[in-house]
Amino acid sequence: MSEPKKSEFSVIGKPVALVDSAGKSTGQGKYADDLSAPGMLIGKILHSHLPHALIKKIDASRALALEGVVTVVIGKDAPNTYGILPVGHDETALAVGKVRYVGDNVACVVAESESIAEAALELIDVEYEPLPAWFDPEDSMKSQSNFIHEQRPNNIEKDYHHVFGDPDAGFAVADVVLEGRYIANEVTHAAMEPHCTLAAFEFDSQTGREGRLTVQSSTQVPYYLQHKLSIVLDMPMSQIRVIKPLVGGGFGGKSEIIPLEIIAAVAARKAKAPVKITYTREEVFLAHRGRPRTIIDLKTGVKKDGSITAVAAKVIQDGGAYCSYGVVTILYSGALLGALYDIPNIKYDGFRVLTNKPACGAMRGHGTVNVRFAFESQLDELAGKINMDPVSIRRKNLLKPPCITVNGLRVQSYGLPECIDVVARESKWAERRTKLGKGRGLGMACSHYVSGAASSIIRSDMPHSTVNIKIDRDGGVIVYTGASDIGQGSDTMVAQIAAEVLGCKMNRIKVVAADTDLTPVDIGSYSSRVTFMNGNATMRAAEDIKKRIVAAAAKKLACAPEDVLMRDNIVYKRGVEPVESKSILQKVLGTSPSDKAPTVSGHVEGQILRGSVQQKRKDEGPKERMSFEEAVTSAMDNTGALSGTGSYAPPVEAKGGKHKGGGVGPSPAYSYSAQVADVSVDEETGEVTVHKIWAAHDCGRALNPVSVEGQVIGSVWMGLGQALQEEFVWKDGLLMNPTMLEYKSPSSTESPEIECFIVESIDPEGPFGAKEASEGSLAAAIPAVANAIYDAVGVRMRESPFTPERVLAAIRAKNGQKKIEMTNRVDPTAPHKLREHGGSLWFKGRGPQRHADDPSRKTTAEPVAGD
């Protein structure tokens, strides 16, 4: 489409409230756990207390004897394996023969109430044979036996080795080369809504037996869920309906099939009644699928003028006990070294390693975040080495789009230069940086992200999104979209695009979303694909239906179809002033509709137009303009309800290189972000205070600025959590902080001001030019803070999060002050290994029955700290 000026839009680019916001602020909106069904039972899952063990026997007889217990489900009730990717199908609904982490799913009690089910969990007797367990990925990679999955020797889920250009030659011509190890500790989504699934079968009227299954679940991917349910339950997909109610945040944590979703369905089948399972907060942490602990060995070379000559990265991800999205995560870590800056030579070695801990998966900024922390930190350090300003070195290495990067990524719209300019200007980078007092500093970093993957994970040529629109005689526009609104506002985006294309007001649009019975396939809300892909599909569906309306309107307006314009509920001839609908009503009715009741006025209009006014209008001759309803009514005079459909599949040119693993990274468009952090560091306590973040984000076009700002601020904020206070703390496979009290998701008190600047690069293929807005800004926040800490106190933090004890340890070391062992023997400026919680545990013959070769039992008790 040709590029319309912003002023030409009536809905796009305007801040609108999310279409479901009133339901959220009144409590009327329903999330999965708010639902119930007649005869519903409650499921509770028994989890493994051992990290790695064979299950010798499960005896549920005592549990079944408890009054109110209906059934107990175990692994063999549904042994089919599944996984989210086409490879690595290593999960079962409940453990079959073996448990692989503390928290693995062993059995599920179905009972009349939560308290009965909880009591019954204590009555299930499980006999285990412990196996040695693997907790450190670098140890795990060296394993020769006791593999976590037999088909994965050395516990390596997947490794990739990519070379683009000539890295050796690149390093050879560099003036400065830096190498360093960076460690990013594990973080999780911690969405406010704990996962919940309600599964219910209905009887088949023909056979009289158990028939269709309906699953209502807190998911980002209803169609994948439908597919995996079909595999595990051995049922055709046509017999399974998945409905996504309101979802209380996902961030990737609901972007694959979470065990309870399958278990609830298996349990409902066995219990012959609807079953609801809601995770406790601890179970949410154990289901996890968050961002893995990552070890990054990074090497970068630059010339004296700042231009990057080569990058080499070796990345090890501590993936946990199952594959999950792991193969994709490790590929993203390498692929998105490209597409931000112009890097001529790239070497990448990625290892996704299995360990006996909860599975890691996709989390906001999937795969890119930790490597970006390392890269932007090292770039900052290189700038220092060549006496170049951190802003200048980034400007020096910009891409020159349209282009294809050395690793095969096609870049078209590229707002990074403007993003850098904006934050440098707004933060007064040049003026303030040298004038900040002691202990205060500014740091800059950039990041980017895909607007959906050009190749979907289902290995099929089908469109990634399809949208249907129906308009019936009431003039209401119903958009059927498979897009899953998880709070990011996709329903609103769909409504805005449909309204803009059809030239009607937002309140005429009703969005029906994410119900596999009603809505066409959309592969889900992940990798920031929805606005780009489902938005494009919505646009095409709306254009499809618009053609028919325009054809009918053209006759009435006595003009060519291309001269029919639609806007703000008015259909009019080109060259004629579109006037507000209320003026038309005034003419028709001779009265003025009340300004105070806009929703009522629409209703009144509809009533009238279906009756006498419509008749009256038919008698009039050719006209210059008409209402949306009149145009719609005339279009359906002979056909009945109008329907339109539209699909989106990414273009072949965006699908990237042919190398192994080349399908991950390519996207039809990339978002860009630049940030400046202003921080203070308390040199006596190591506490870091972020005063402000300036964040500029190139989202192509902001369809709904208030939403874009919310997404960008939310991303930066979540990045700050990872930068400063969030981490999974482990001790020998035991998660020490599986609670909202101890996992430190930031409260309002320590959340700084984040100012968002929207940069619009107008992507040639995005809907109205729009691209991703919800993930790309997260990654830059972490290195921006790290670089600001360096600017403030001269210590280079290479291990995240930058907790006060880590920062203080680094400051002490730098100043040569009295050394205090605050970081369990891991130097946060040169971390060499993953840090465990300091408590001692499991010495011989006591505690849980762990295997004698378990790392937890081999090491001697650590010295008592604190004295």
């Binding site: 989890h47 207390h49 051992l50 503390v102 109430s113 939560e114 308290s115 909880e118 969990l121 204590e122 406790t280 601890e282 202990g439 203070s680 308390d682 040199e683 006596e684 306590t685 190591g686 206070q725 703390v729 035991l734 020490m736 902080n737 599986p738 609670t739 009290l741 101890e742 430190k744 930031p746 409260s747 309002s748 008190t749 320590e750 907790t803 006060p804 004890e805 203080l808 205090i820 062992e821 605050m822 970081t823 369990n824 919680h837 300091g838 408590g839 001692s840 545990l841 499991w842 010495f843 006591r846 505690g847 849980p848 008790a861 008592v864 700290a865 604190g866 004295d867």
Partner: protein, 331 residues
Amino acid sequence: MSLPTFKLLRPRTVEEAVGMLHRYQDEIQICAGGTDLIPSMKQRLFSPKYLMDIRGIEGLERIRVTPGLGVELGALTTLTAVEDSGFIHKHYPVLHEAVKTVASPILRNMGTMGGNICLDTRCLWYNQSLQWRKSCGFCIKKDGDLCHVAPGGKKCWAAFSADTPAALLCLSAEVNIASPSGFRRVAIADLYTNDGVNRIKIAKNEMITSIYLPESSAGYSGAYKKLRIRGSIDYPLAGVAVALKRKGNIVEDAKVAITGVNPAPHLVPDALHALAGREVNEHSAMVVGELASRVAKPLTTSLLTPEYRREMVRVFTKRAVMAAAGAEFSI
């Protein structure tokens, strides 16, 4: 998570409550605000047969000033009420400072002074669900015989993690304890045992009914500094309270207490000695910090390392002393 089943008791008078305590001894738990007890019950740290909700007892929620004697805070006075009390703010600033750091505003609406004093000790190996504790083989504080933070030890090192008792120690506060045989008054300083399991010297048939702040402690300047990761919600990983009485700028009396780093809150001995008879300066404040850090015995009961916490006791004490002297330390 549901609560374990119990029978709810709602006494209307202290006598009735103490009678119930006497009758059910090991099978009863007192619930005031519930902010610590209820989540602990969900985790099956407590499964009492009877839960005694004492919020219905008349007269235990007021702040009463008696000229010449001091202030009596009813045990059920909410932390918010103490925080909002202009009288406390003016005359007992260290308590005001401490109370406003407790948990979050909503939790302070529920939590009570009595409850804060009686708070259970905390440890990362203890404050976990039943399922979780099974994975670590339990611990000596509950259901097991291991200590994970002091291997081989028989003593529980769970950290006393309430904020206000540190302030109360500085104010020489006393508590009024009701029992079937009447009332007794105990200095806060004599209330705790420094044992993570049996943390407090209150018999099973007794309950705290009020807290006295002596008039002689009124007018001390004060400060409370708290180590935590979040600016809200969190329990203290270390806390330091300081109360100073000065004539001009010369210190006449000084009390320093720490919390969150031992199984009990502790007064720092010799703090007065380091400060008395002169102006507070950075050096003397540092000396007190050193003294305080010697009292601190943090172990790996929390996410931050013991070494860091002890170091922060030193730094925070120094800052609290400076702040109490009106010389707020700026970073």
